[in-house]
């Protein structure tokens, strides 16, 4: 799946599943930038149909409602939505 990598402070494997049109996804991405952590992200709405299906299945694995933004840390901790305090706490 097509992922963009953003360099920064290593705080584990951080993956952000986002939509390019979504305000809360943009806020989450900005927060990760502000925290200066290394992460990968993908805009699921911009993927090809096959890649999109893979991405949706992956998001649903962590977050059954399949909503965005879904932030996955080390394949175990999942934060759904722009939960600023929770994201700051997890990545401090």
């Amino acid at each position: 799946m097509q992922m963009e990598h953003v360099k920064g402070r290593r705080r584990g494997e951080i993956i952000l599943y986002a939509l390019s049109t979504c305000g809360w996804c943009a806020k989450t991405k900005n927060l990760l930038g502000e925290l200066g952590v290394e992460y990968s992200y993908t805009y699921v709405d911009r993927l090809s149909p096959a890649e999109m299906e893979d991405a949706i299945r992956e998001v649903e694995k962590y977050n059954p409602s399949g909503s965005f933004p879904t932030l996955v840390i080390d394949g175990s901790r999942v934060i759904v939505g722009f939960r600023e305090a929770e994201i700051r706490e997890a990545l401090k």
């Binding site: 939509l19 390019s20 049109t21 979504c22 305000g23 809360w24 996804c25 943009a26 699921v44 709405d45 999109m52 949706i56 649903e60 059954p64 409602s65 399949g66 909503s67 965005f68 759904v80 939505g81 722009f82 939960r83």
Partner: protein, 169 residues
Amino acid sequence: MTGEGIPDEIIDARVEKIRKDAEDGGYLLNPDPDFVRALVAGICINEQRYGYAACPCRLASGNREEDLDIICPCDYRDSDLNDYGACYCALYVSAGVAAGTIKAPCVPERRPGRQERKKMSENNSANVSRKELIPVWRCRVCGYLCARENPPLICPICKASQDRFVRFM
């Protein structure tokens, strides 16, 4: 977030239309104009991509019939306004959020997940019986009637507040 090739004036005009429609109906938009503009740009992009104004904070299927519930304003807006003070995107907000005295909350997704939606569409009879359970509310000021889970925060006809409604049926 950029307009993905959509001219600025198209987005600006859409913001104004959405703002006017909201105000006419007693709804309020998020007080952050940049946030509103970015969401409206998302709506314009989705309209261009899919042919309908799908919610910018949800992934559209490309099939209008499957996504009727998430065409903005979505089926969930008023319930989320009632319960959280903002719609899922926080494009539409309560008076407190609009005034800046309350921060727009993180609204959990109310729309059923993909698998659940599929089951629901296969089992349409359940939806028919549910219709009878929806209450009807009456605005005591102007008599406006609406069938929905809760009365609107502001009467779309006379702008009376939610507490002026009584259960009618």
